[in-house]
């Protein structure tokens, strides 16, 4: 098939199909590239930059960059991992992540990244920003203290649910997820069955009355690091 070609990640040859991004080809080959905003099934947006790799020596977001024949990708390097760790640390200090009472704890992708990188404390001072919550909707709540601005809910609502319930407003540290109504989430046509209700990587957008259902020890990242499924080849079948 002329549609397939090869390139290397950390010196190991991987196969890709025309049109695939680096992250898609890597996933398929059992190579995990750390990522936060990327979500299978949604259009990659290159926002979090945790998936930054070197392509022929230049930094690029692996989720948006198309794979190309013969390119040399660096994924695992001390320097890249240092930058990734810095980004993860910044998320923790720029939000209010009280993992001890968060319903998403154990299943949270940000927390899991921190675990995978062995982070015991962030290296920057905490900002303790003032952020709003919106618990008006009967089935879903938003806790913006935990939002990492990944845009998954924005995309899922627009592209999958066809509703446009969410949108980013504001700039810089004032940026936040807003809802498409005069006041609150309850006034939108958001439903618990929406794709947008399940894509949040952290505990910012959660369905009500399902929290803490999984016992400690059985949660997604209790025993194996995030990315292990990819590394063990289990996700390659998809």
């Amino acid at each position: 098939m002329s549609d397939t070609f090869t390139f290397t990640i950390d010196g190991v040859e991987v196969t890709a199909t025309k049109g695939q991004t680096i992250i898609e080809a890597a996933d398929q080959s059992g190579v995990y590239i750390p990522r936060l905003c990327y979500c299978e099934g949604l259009k990659p947006y290159g926002g979090c930059r945790i998936c930054t790799v070197l392509i022929n020596g230049r930094p690029q977001a692996a989720c948006t960059q198309p794979a190309a024949p013969g390119i040399e990708v660096t994924n695992e390097s001390a320097e890249l991992n240092k930058h990734r760790r810095a980004l993860i640390d910044m998320h923790f200090v720029e939000g209010n992540h009280f993992c001890m009472f968060c319903e998403k704890s154990g299943d949270c992708e940000l927390q899991a990244l921190a675990y995978r990188f062995g982070i015991t404390a962030p290296q920057y001072p905490y900002m303790f920003p003032k952020r709003d919550i919106d618990a008006t909707h009967p089935d879903i709540f938003i806790d913006r203290n935990r939002c990492v601005m990944c845009g998954r809910c924005v995309q899922a609502s627009r592209d999958v649910d066809g509703k446009n319930v969410f949108q980013f407003v504001g700039r810089g540290s004032d940026k936040r997820v807003a809802v498409n109504s005069e006041a609150n989430l309850a006034d939108t046509d958001m439903a618990a069955s929406d794709k947008a209700a399940e894509v949040c990587p952290v505990g910012a957008l959660l369905r009500k009355r399902v929290g803490f259902a999984k016992p400690i020890g059985k949660r997604d990242y209790d025993n194996t690091p995030i990315g292990s499924d990819i590394e063990s080849g289990k996700s390659a079948a998809q």
Binding site: F92, N96, H97, F98, C99, M100, F101, C102, S105, G106, Q111, A114, Y115, R116, G118, I119, T120, A121, P122, P125, Y126, F128, P129, K130, R131, I216, D222, N223, T224, P225
Partner: protein
């Protein structure tokens, strides 16, 4: 040769991390063979009796007194460890960090639904340590050498970390022991 000393304290914490330390169960007997406890609520020694190899700090700094104790620990301990989420990020007490201090005090002493306070005064005796504007993680107040996260950290994590440090081994925590909850 005398055994190395270990000191522990709880600042703005709930003593859960100390309970987790007791959760090492019968290994506490092995620990006693390895170390002597110095200033600590475990033996109720109030003042440092000498330099300590390791200091374990539970809780962040919510008031002036917490800061003094923490600085005292830094002066007297070779290795200072933040134990638990309160010491590392402020924890539950830091939930007040988004609320102005005056509002917190008014809620606690005047407006709270269960408050009975006919004088309407907020306690201000000079004996009471001054409340800080917000709760500070320990490493924003003094240098901290290691952080053991968790609410509380698992007993096994405390055990592994203490044994490694006391026997000069590298502190290599297994994946399953690093938890923020």
């Amino acid at each position: 040769m005398s055994k190395p000393k270990v000191a522990t304290t709880s600042l703005a914490g709930c003593f859960g991390c100390h309970m987790s330390l007791l959760d090492i169960d019968d290994r506490i007997l092995k620990l006693i063979e390895l170390v002597d406890f110095d200033k600590s609520p475990i033996n109720d020694i109030k003042k440092f009796t000498g330099r300590c190899a390791v200091g374990l700090v539970e809780g962040g700094c919510a008031n002036e007194h917490n800061v003094h104790v923490l600085q005292d620990f830094r002066r007297n301990c070779e290795i200072l460890i933040s134990v638990g989420d309160c010491a590392i990020m402020g924890g539950i007490p830091a939930v007040r960090n988004g609320i102005p201090l005056k509002e917190c005090l008014d809620e606690a002493y005047i407006n709270g639904p269960t408050v009975y306070n006919p004088s309407g005064q907020i306690p201000n005796d000079p004996e009471l340590p001054l409340i800080l504007d917000r709760v500070y993680p320990c490493h924003e107040v003094v240098k901290i050498d290691y952080h053991l996260p968790g609410c509380p950290p698992p007993a096994d994590m405390l055990w592994e970390a203490l044994v490694a440090l006391l026997t000069d081994k590298p502190l290599d925590l297994p994946y399953e022991l690093i938890k923020y909850d």
